[in-house]
């Protein structure tokens, strides 16, 4: 089942299938290891619900929900 990373619940994980978004944001996501076929796990949400923290390629990455909405993930 494909889902946007921004809609993930805490603890869910999956494999990235597609990265959309405007040039700069997309570039940054790639550079930080958010690429198709990478495994990603939702770690937690900030106290105010946004941004979120995910584990990708063995480290902790934080991004806003708007940016996470660019990432399509196949839920495991």
């Amino acid at each position: 089942m494909t889902k946007l990373l921004s809609d993930f619940a805490v603890g869910e994980s999956g494999v990235i299938t597609k990265v959309n978004g405007e040039g700069r944001i997309r570039r940054r996501l790639f550079d930080m290891g958010v690429t198709p076929q990478a495994e990603v796990k939702m770690r937690k949400k900030a106290p105010l619900g946004d941004p979120i923290e995910v584990t990708v390629r063995g480290y902790e990455l934080t991004l806003r929900k708007v940016e996470a909405a660019c990432v399509e993930v196949d839920v495991k």
């Binding site: 940054r28 930080m32 106290p47 946004d50 941004p51 923290e53 063995g58 902790e60 934080t62 806003r64």
Partner: protein, 788 residues
């Protein structure tokens, strides 16, 4: 001498390695045109000396941040003899992503595999030989922290051949495409054609700026999303070759870092914990009543002061070297470390001033020489140096927060709030530091990646009222209470802080929608694992700041202080206005009774000074603010003069009142002893209204900050932005004070202000959505006229 550049991800131990390599030879400057630290040093451990340049920490060589552009241009244009690519072995996958890009450049590369000891501790293994074979450049395992493997690294680096052709890990379908792009750049005769070729296929803005590049890319890509393919290929290559051992053993157990994180970014407790941490930092830096040992309120105080007579609750000690030294630590209450350091420094500086006074006295120097040397030169420098201990203490605490990784979490927690104003969560730290002192706060804006966000933040930092502005607040609020018999000192002070914060928020909102328009910068960043900060790194960091600050104190701040002193102490006919207090007292004991206790020179003729006449000249400007022409010609100018002297240091506003009280009220007031009395004398003597006093406080809070802060802002802002920033401060303070004065004096003016504000907001909003364009309307009108 060979030159090597250090390149690597943020938080991979690069700074630690740099410090280990260069030791005391390191020095910090700025990269040309941007305020990113450029650190250089010399490695002396080998057969020949090697110059080391520390490139900023980056994740990639795409031109996303100024740091990435700097690093990329440095390697391409400056052509170092080699790159030492430091790689964090505990996070091999992401770190090697940068490596694969560096390898595409025509430059010798050596890989320093850092934190291998940690990898081994967790039971993992990385085959250094296999890695070396795969990437085709030397790899050395090191520990920057324990300083192991460093000699081997540098020996191998020095022995590398000086030529290397770039190579790429990208293969398969991409090979042919990259080759075609490479040929294009080879024809253009640029260095490192392979690197440019791959970057072009990645849709890189800089490469697409080459003539003809867009067409070549369109032809090669043929509609494919090469950017995604290349990023994917890089990671595929890395995970296929190196991460098998690593990734699997990333157990699902909670690490220590995770446990700390659970608490510090807790849904409910995160924000309260953060507030407590902030409170302790400010308390330890600024409090004159450490841990409230002397009770929470004044009436609870039980600790005796040192020098007051016994009947007034003191110990009645005599002042001598020993007791004065003790008074730096304890006098009526135990001081915080920040205050103790400040006192100790001032203790020493006072002796230097006194010594200088005596020396000039012995040499029979003219009074103005003594005043120039002691008041202007030493006084000016010492006034600035006096801040140094507290600035450094504050800086130390915030550096610890930064180095432990907590600062990134704070940004994570607070981002939601700040995004509304077009800022990221990171902007919070510098703003909150502003309540202590604007200087470290402005320097701290370096953690903000977006330049417009930085400029906006630097500009509003002075609105977060700093420690030096507090005396203005309390003295004037006390004055209002004493003269008008209304109000509450704490309430007025608190309200003033709120006005400052609201002004800052409004100013940011306006700037982010007009002059500094831009999208809210993306917030995609690493949350580094928590770790204990290195003591040596912290100290080196502080030492850099100290050098920077002292240099400024001795140049720009010093010069401006002397100028203000000149204006204040001389009349237009160059008569020196300062007089000996004792002589004045003896000549007219009745009038100058207040001078009986004072030694040295005092200025009771400021009204005749150049500064005084400047004050009289600009006085009418302040009429809408309540302290202009309506106060009359006689003394109305004193507020303008006080605001000008406040530029040297904000404490001077009240000090100037003390001196001016001699002119206005006919009595000299020792402002240090009784700030409120000073304010009372000024309010009584000038007949200013309480509304205008409040407007005056706000004006001083939001106008141009002290010279030290101005100098820092100039250094931190992008080129050419400083003059606009000064204008911004002047306009903002004028408008806000005028608003407060008129609304407080005549409540119905609030409606006029509201109408004006509504009109401005509507205008900005309409303009931003493109519905309203002055130029277009103007053009259309002209057209209509012609037709008509």
């Amino acid at each position: 001498m060979k030159t090597f550049a250090l390149a690597g991800n943020p938080n991979c131990g690069k700074t630690t390695l740099f410090n280990a390599l260069t030791g005391s030879t390191a020095h910090v400057g700025n990269w040309p045109g941007v305020t990113v630290d450029k650190r250089e040093g010399v490695y002396k451990g080998g057969a020949e000396k090697i110059e080391i340049i520390d490139l900023p920490g980056i994740y990639s060589l795409s031109p996303y941040t100024p740091e990435e552009v700097i690093s990329r241009n440095y390697i391409l244009d400056e052509k170092p003899d080699g790159i030492i690519n430091i790689v964090d072995a505990t996070n091999l996958e992401r770190n090697l992503y940068l490596t694969t890009q560096i390898l595409e450049m025509d430059v010798p590369v050596i890989i320093a595999l850092n934190m291998m000891d940690e990898v081994e501790k967790s039971g993992d293994k990385i085959d250094v030989k296999a890695l070396e074979k795969a990437v085709g450049v030397p790899v050395v395992a090191i520990s920057a922290l324990r300083k192991t493997g460093i000699k081997e690294l540098m020996d191998k680096a020095a022995a590398m051949s000086s030529e290397r052709k770039g190579a790429t890990v990208l293969g398969g379908e991409l090979t042919g495409k990259i080759e075609r792009a490479r040929q294009f750049f080879a024809q253009e005769e640029v260095a490192s054609p392979l690197f440019h070729a791959v970057k072009m296929l990645e849709n890189d803005e800089i490469e697409l700026g080459h003539k003809g590049a867009k067409e070549v890319l369109a032809e090669i890509a043929a509609g494919d999303d090469l950017e995604a393919v290349i990023a994917d290929e890089r990671y595929k290559y890395i995970s296929a070759n190196f991460s098998s051992a690593k990734a699997k053993s990333k157990k699902e157990v909670l690490t220590k870092s995770d446990k700390i994180d659970k608490v510090l970014t807790h849904r409910i407790w995160a924000i309260p914990i953060f507030i407590v941490i902030l409170f302790f930092i400010f308390h330890l830096t600024f409090s004159e009543n450490l841990f409230y040992l002397n009770g929470f309120t004044e009436s609870q105080g039980w600790m005796p002061t040192l020098f007051d007579p016994v009947e007034e609750g003191g110990l009645g000690w005599e002042e001598n070297f020993g007791t004065k030294l003790l008074a730096c630590i304890y006098d009526g209450a135990v001081f915080s470390p920040g205050v103790i350091l400040t006192n100790l420094l001032n203790f020493i500086l006072d002796y230097i001033s006194e010594g200088m006074s005596l020396f000039i006295g012995v040499c029979h120097g003219a009074p103005w020489v003594e005043s120039l040397v002691v008041d202007a030169v030493l006084g000016g420098i010492f006034a600035v140096l006096g801040f140094l201990p507290q600035i450094l203490t504050l800086f130390l605490f915030f550096s610890i927060l930064e180095d432990t990784g907590y600062m990134a979490r704070v940004a994570f927690v607070l981002d939601r709030i700040f995004r509304r104003f077009g800022l990221s969560g990171r902007a919070f730290m510098p703003m909150i530091m502003g309540f202590g002192c604007s200087l470290p706060a402005m320097i701290n804006t370096r953690t903000l990646a977006d330049e417009k966000e930085r400029t906006a933040t630097v500009r509003v930092i002075p609105f977060f009222s700093c420690g030096a502005k507090l005396p203005i607040l309390t003295a004037m609020a006390g004055g209002i209470l004493a003269v008008f018999g209304a109000g509450n000192v704490d309430a007025i002070t608190f309200a003033m802080y709120i006005v400052g914060i609201v002004t800052a928020i409004c100013a940011v909102l306006i700037m982010r929608n007009t002059t500094l328009k831009g999208e809210t910068p993306p917030f995609i960043m690493e949350l580094p694992a928590y770790h204990v900060p290195g003591f040596k790194n912290l100290m080196l960091h502080l030492w850099d700041k100290t050098k920077h600050f002292v240099k400024k104190a001795f140049t720009i701040i010093f010069a401006s202080t002397v100028i203000i002193w000149l204006l204040q102490s001389f009349s237009w006919s160059w008569e020196f206005l300062l007089q000996d207090a004792q002589e004045l007292f003896e000549a007219d004991p009745v009038r100058w009774e207040s001078l009986a206790e004072i030694e040295g020179l005092v200025n009771v003729r400021t009204n005749e000074s150049i500064l005084g006449s400047i004050g009289m000249f600009v006085q009418p400007i302040f009429t809408p603010l309540g302290f202009g022409s309506q106060l009359g010609k006689a003394f109305g100018w004193v507020f303008a003069v006080a605001a000008i002297t406040g530029l040297v240091a904000k404490e001077n506003v009240i000090a100037t009142f003390g001196a001016l009280a001699a002119v206005v009220a006919g009595q000299y007031i020792d402002w240090e002893a009784d700030e409120v009395a000073t304010a009372v004398a000024m309010i009584g003597g000038t007949g200013i209204t309480w509304q205008a006093v409040i407007a005056f406080i706000i004006f001083n809070m939001t106008t141009i900050p002290c010279f030290a802060a101005c100098a820092t802002a100039k250094g931190e802002l992008p080129k050419g932005k400083f003059k606009w920033t000064v204008l911004f401060w002047v306009v903002t303070s004028y408008l806000v004070s005028a608003l407060v004065y008129t609304v407080l004096s005549w409540w119905w003016t609030a409606f006029i202000w509201l109408a004006v504000i509504a009109a401005v907001v509507t205008f900005i909003v309409l303009r931003n959505i493109g519905k309203f364009d002055i130029l277009k309307i103007f053009k259309r009108k002209k057209k209509d006229e012609k037709v008509g």
